[in-house]
């Protein structure tokens, strides 16, 4: 957990680092788990997510982020709800 003017909370998954920048007095563990929650959603959504999925579908990753985090806050934490919404969006053309 290294610091700057804010602090950066990160978690490593294989070769990928997921970082989140929060205020110094924010709850470390809560955000650490928020990262994991996010990664689990990605994993479900892309079915065994790998780096390539994220690169080729970068625009979809943005949608996932927007569903779960907005305006710098946690928006939705229920994996079921997020995935349901994502599948709904997926079906739209």
């Amino acid at each position: 957990m290294p610091f700057r003017n804010f602090k950066i909370i990160y978690r490593r998954y294989a070769g990928l680092y997921f970082c989140i920048c929060v205020d110094v007095n924010d709850n470390n563990l809560a955000y650490l788990e928020a990262i994991h929650n996010f990664v689990e959603v990605l994993n479900e959504y892309f079915h065994n997510v790998c780096e390539l999925d994220l690169v080729f579908n970068f625009y979809k990753v943005y949608t996932v982020v927007d569903e779960m985090f907005l305006a710098g806050e946690i928006r939705e934490t229920s994996q079921t709800k997020v995935l349901k919404q994502l599948l709904m969006l997926q079906s739209l053309e």
Partner: protein
């Protein structure tokens, strides 16, 4: 349930991304991108109207190129067109492009806002969410103006879908944070609070964030949220692990929502309503109880989520600081974590305990963990955890355990990381002073500090010890005896010499009775250090000498001899010269009485706030450590020096001998106005005239300028000697070849390369440096087909270099076959700072003819740089501390190479300093910091390079604690650009 397979979506995009990924080099990638950009441009400009799909595809490609780090200056209009599409995927890409590449073109903004308006009114929740996300991600003022009034309506409308409410709440939060004036308060605010009761946990999650932010600004308007939050929290906390279904995360019910609710409650004091308060206390107890239960899962996710709630609960308990029972329970819980195998938990436990230590209810409970914390300081592998342990020790220190804690910290200091040494030094100094029962312990502690970490003992610290010794009769004799002993160490830090010089000058008479420390012995001990010291210290020592003349008339002749010596009377430094001249005259013309009056013992310093404490406060970032310092507010009131009102300045001391000597000839230089605020500091530090002798005037600095009067410009400067003659060249080898300097310059910023080449011989260098040590491999290649004979490369130290740099060389074979290469290893140790590089002399016989060649070995002082990262605040503080004119060296010069920021950066890094971003207000400028590591001392260096592209000039400023180093580094570096 695989939702996405790789093939779907846009084929052209996938092909493009694969192409980029297959590029072998940066150039190939740029080529491919330029090709694509040209293609997209022509498509967008073409006559054929593009269908939605192609438009989406190209906009998406542009986005990808942008994300790779290239500039995109077109495509905005096409993206805006996509916004009005009816297809979700097209609209989504349009919004994404707009959010990522925010554009301030007003015409575009009008179109974008129009599209957003339509989507917000569309009653299609998907489109509404897209529009809200876009506003939330951009959050510009224009968008605030356009939508701040609509969003609250959407948020509280009865028919809004849950997902829309979630997005609206956070969207409003973003606008409120960006421009609070635009968000109208109104009847919606009451309804927002009731969102805490919403059925949908996601809505609650989003709404809590909004409410937390709003109630920080208007606590009274949102007071009703307390009871709602408590009841919501209580329902979550008491629910079984499966009750909340979707919102249960690894058997923990709604961890993030719980954390957010607990944070919301931290905006308010404990609830006044007894029932609400009772319910809340029950909640908090439940959380603490749950922490004791066996985990429901072995997964780290489970324990993390659970502990996230626990730590937030403890924060709330600390915030209330009114429930002794809960505080002690919290402390015990954290105590268990101190030995947990998870590093994260140990870190967090130490951090939370620091705040617990400042509560009167839990201070004692925290103290029971002292052994564990000391152990953490000794054994933790992670430096950040050790730092927290040190913080906690500082926070838990009181009279009962001060000796133990201070001695542990001193022990830690010997191995502590450089980055935190200064802070530890300050902490030890403060604790030692605050809890000193007997002053001999205090003096011992500070002298130990100087011994162990002399470089990190700032002026404030050693000024403070002098202040205290001067003010306390009972410790003066002991102090004199102790410094006298400390000075007998063969290598002692310059700060020790300063303290020793001052104390012996004042109180040396107290130990003069002992023949082992008779006046001549004292004098010769001090004088043995004289030549190794910086100008400032030597000036101080000269003052000590004149005091000796007064204290011990028997030393007068010897000291006058020293003062009279050419090296003093004609010293190049004005200050030293002036002191020598004046003291010599004073000692010969003044009568003993006059001498005794002028050189009377220093009067006690007026009591005031410890300048060290002020410094530690400044060092700590806002928020990070304030609890530490404020926490002990009550404890210090009747301690030695604490608690006394700070007086404006010591300059007002009523005695004529107020300054160290009372004989400064020139009036003190008028101090420039003190920097009024931190904001001004920036301007002050960088834009102040370089020649300004001191930035003094705040109480701290006034003290500083009193002890060390900055050299006043006096006419005597005219008498100063010209610079000392150049180093005599060594006799046994020839002078360096004419290009030697140029060759040397090539290696200032790099360590490897070809040092020299002619038709016969090539010399390659490979070197690495760490701290004050270096190893260099020299490769001698015979370019001819004939054997070299009597091949002998040697390293020579001209002049004083022998004492400054030790170079060990290995012999190499005397024959070098044609076409062969031999390697020579050099071990280098930097003993002191040095100015001239060693010479490398290579001699051999080629075809019977003797060849000889002398080069400069590419070892320059900057090789022993250790980069130092520091925050802007620390940088300015240090910069300011090095404000004496002789500490600064500046050069303005023309650029010899094209002015490329990246190249400059690489050079500065190669030079060895750390590059500090976001320090200089002007982003064009470069700011760096580092420490030169030598065996005898460390020299902190700060540098700043200001390129002026128009004039093709640079201005380079170096500040270090040693004058020659500043000048030398400045010269070395200036030749690189």
């Amino acid at each position: 349930m695989p939702a996405v397979s790789k093939g779907d979506g846009m084929r052209g995009l996938a092909v493009f991304i694969s192409d980029i990924r297959n590029c072998k080099s940066k150039e190939a990638e740029i080529k491919r991108i330029n090709k694509e950009l040209a293609n997209i441009r022509s498509k967008f400009k073409g006559d054929k109207a593009l269908d939605g799909y192609s438009k989406k595809k190209y906009v998406c490609k542009l986005l990808f190129i942008f994300l790779l780090g290239h500039d995109i200056d077109f495509g905005h209009m096409e993206a805006v067109n996509l916004l009005s599409s009816n297809k979700y995927t097209e609209k989504q890409i349009g919004y994404l492009f707009i959010s990522v590449l925010v554009n301030s073109n007003s015409e575009l903004i009008r179109l974008i806002n129009n599209a957003i308006k339509n989507d917000l009114a569309s009653r299609n929740p998907t489109f509404m969410c897209l529009a809200l996300h876009c506003i939330a991600n951009v959050g510009s003022r224009e968008m605030g103006e356009a939508f701040a009034a609509d969003i609250p309506r959407i948020l509280v409308a009865g028919d809004s879908m849950d997902s829309v409410k979630q997005s609206a709440a956070l969207c409003l939060l973003r606008l409120y944070k960006a421009s609070p004036d635009l968000v109208p308060m109104g009847e919606w605010t009451a309804r927002v609070v009731h969102l805490l009761n919403d059925q949908h946990m996601g809505v609650v999650t989003a709404a809590v964030s909004l409410i937390t932010c709003l109630c920080k600004k208007n606590p009274d308007d949102f007071k009703t949220c307390i009871s709602l939050a408590v009841s919501r929290l209580s329902r979550i906390v008491s629910s079984a692990s499966t009750d909340l279904q979707d919102y249960t995360y690894y058997f923990v019910p709604a961890p993030w929502l719980s954390v957010k609710l607990l944070r919301l409650l931290q905006c308010y004091p404990p609830p006044e309503d007894a029932a609400v308060k009772g319910r809340l206390v029950e909640c908090l107890e439940t959380v603490l109880n749950k922490a004791q239960e066996p985990p429901k899962s072995k997964k780290v996710q489970h324990s993390n989520a659970k502990n996230a709630i626990l730590f937030e609960t403890i924060s709330l308990i600390i915030h209330y600081d009114s429930e002794p029972n809960l505080l002690v329970r919290a402390c015990n819980q954290l105590g268990q974590f101190l030995q947990h195998r998870e590093t994260n938990l140990r870190y967090l436990a130490l951090e939370s305990m620091c705040t617990l230590a400042s509560s009167e209810f839990s201070h004692e409970a925290v103290k029971t963990h002292i052994d564990t914390v000391i152990n953490a300081l000794k054994t933790e592998r992670d430096v950040s955890v050790r730092q927290r342990a040190a913080d906690l020790l500082y926070a838990m220190c009181d009279r009962s355990n001060a000796k133990q804690i201070v001695s542990e910290m001193l022990r830690y200091l010997e191995t502590a990381d450089y980055a935190i040494r200064e802070e530890i030094v300050l902490k030890v100094a403060i604790l030692a002073e605050k809890y000193a029962v007997d002053y001999s312990w205090y003096v011992d502690t500070i002298l130990n500090l100087i011994r162990i970490a002399g470089d990190y003992v700032s002026e404030e610290v050693w000024y403070r010890v002098l202040q205290i010794v001067t003010n306390r009769d009972d410790v003066q004799g002991y102090a004199a005896k102790t410094v006298f002993e400390a000075l007998q160490a063969p290598a002692c830090h310059e700060n020790m010499v300063k303290v020793g010089g001052y104390i012996l000058g004042e109180f040396g008479n107290l130990i003069a009775g002992d023949p082992r420390s008779s006046p001549p012995v004292q004098f010769s001990l001090l004088h043995s250090k004289f030549h190794l010291c910086s100008v400032a210290t030597r000036a101080l020592l000269l003052s000590t000498y004149i005091k000796f003349i007064n204290l011990f008339p028997e030393t007068k002749a010897t000291i006058q001899g020293v003062l009279r010596a050419g090296s003093q009377l004609r010293n190049a430094d004005v200050e030293l010269q002036q002191r020598a001249v004046e003291y010599l005259t004073l000692s010969s013309v003044a009568s003993t009485d006059v001498l005794a009056t002028v050189l009377e013992e220093m009067p006690p310093f007026p009591e005031r706030e410890s300048s060290i404490l002020a410094k530690l406060k400044r060092k700590k970032g806002p928020g990070a450590g304030s609890a530490l310092d404020d926490g002990r507010r009550d404890a210090s009131s009747n301690d030695i020096n604490g608690g006394v009102e700070p007086t404006p300045s010591t300059v007002s001391t009523p005695s004529p001998s107020a300054d160290l000597l009372g004989l400064r000839a020139a009036p003190p230089p008028a101090a420039p106005p003190a920097p009024a605020s931190a904001g001004n500091l920036l301007v002050d530090v960088f834009d102040g005239p370089a020649a300004q002798p001191s930035l003094g005037a705040t109480p701290e600095e006034a003290f500083l300028s009193e002890l060390e009067p900055p050299a006043p410009e006096s006419p005597m400067a005219l008498l100063a000697d010209p610079a000392p003659a150049a180093d005599p060249g060594p006799e046994d080898i020839g002078p360096p070849i004419p290009e030697a300097d140029e060759l040397l310059n090539k290696f200032v910023c790099k360590n490897n390369g070809v040092l020299f080449e002619n038709q016969l011989l090539q010399i390659g260098v490979k070197s690495e440096f760490r701290q004050n040590l270096g190893r260099m491999y020299l490769f001698y290649g015979n370019k001819t087909s004939v054997q070299f004979q009597n091949f002998s490369p040697t390293v020579v130290h001209p002049g004083d270099l022998q004492t400054q740099l030790a170079v060990q060389t290995k012999r190499v074979a005397a024959q070098v076959d044609g076409g062969a290469q031999v390697q020579q290893v050099l071990n280098i140790e930097c003993l002191r700072d040095f100015l001239t590089p060693p010479l490398l002399s290579v001699r051999f016989r080629y075809g019977g003819a003797p060849q000889s060649l002398t080069l400069k070995l590419p070892v320059t002082i900057n090789k022993f740089f250790q980069p130092t990262e520091m925050a802007a605040q620390d940088f300015f503080q240090r910069w300011k501390q090095l404000s004496l004119p002789q500490q600064e060296a500046q050069k303005i010069f023309k650029a010899n190479h094209p002015m490329d920021a990246e190249v400059t950066k690489a050079k500065l890094l190669g030079f060895g300093s750390a590059l500090l971003d976001n320090v200089d207000p002007n982003p064009e400028n470069f700011v760096g910091a580092g420490i030169i590591q030598t065996k005898a001392l460390q020299v902190g260096c700060l540098l700043r390079l200001e390129p002026n592209a128009q004039a093709q000039m640079y201005r380079l400023t170096l500040r270090t604690s040693k004058e020659p180093v500043s000048r030398h580094l400045c010269e070395l570096l200036a030749q690189q650009f």
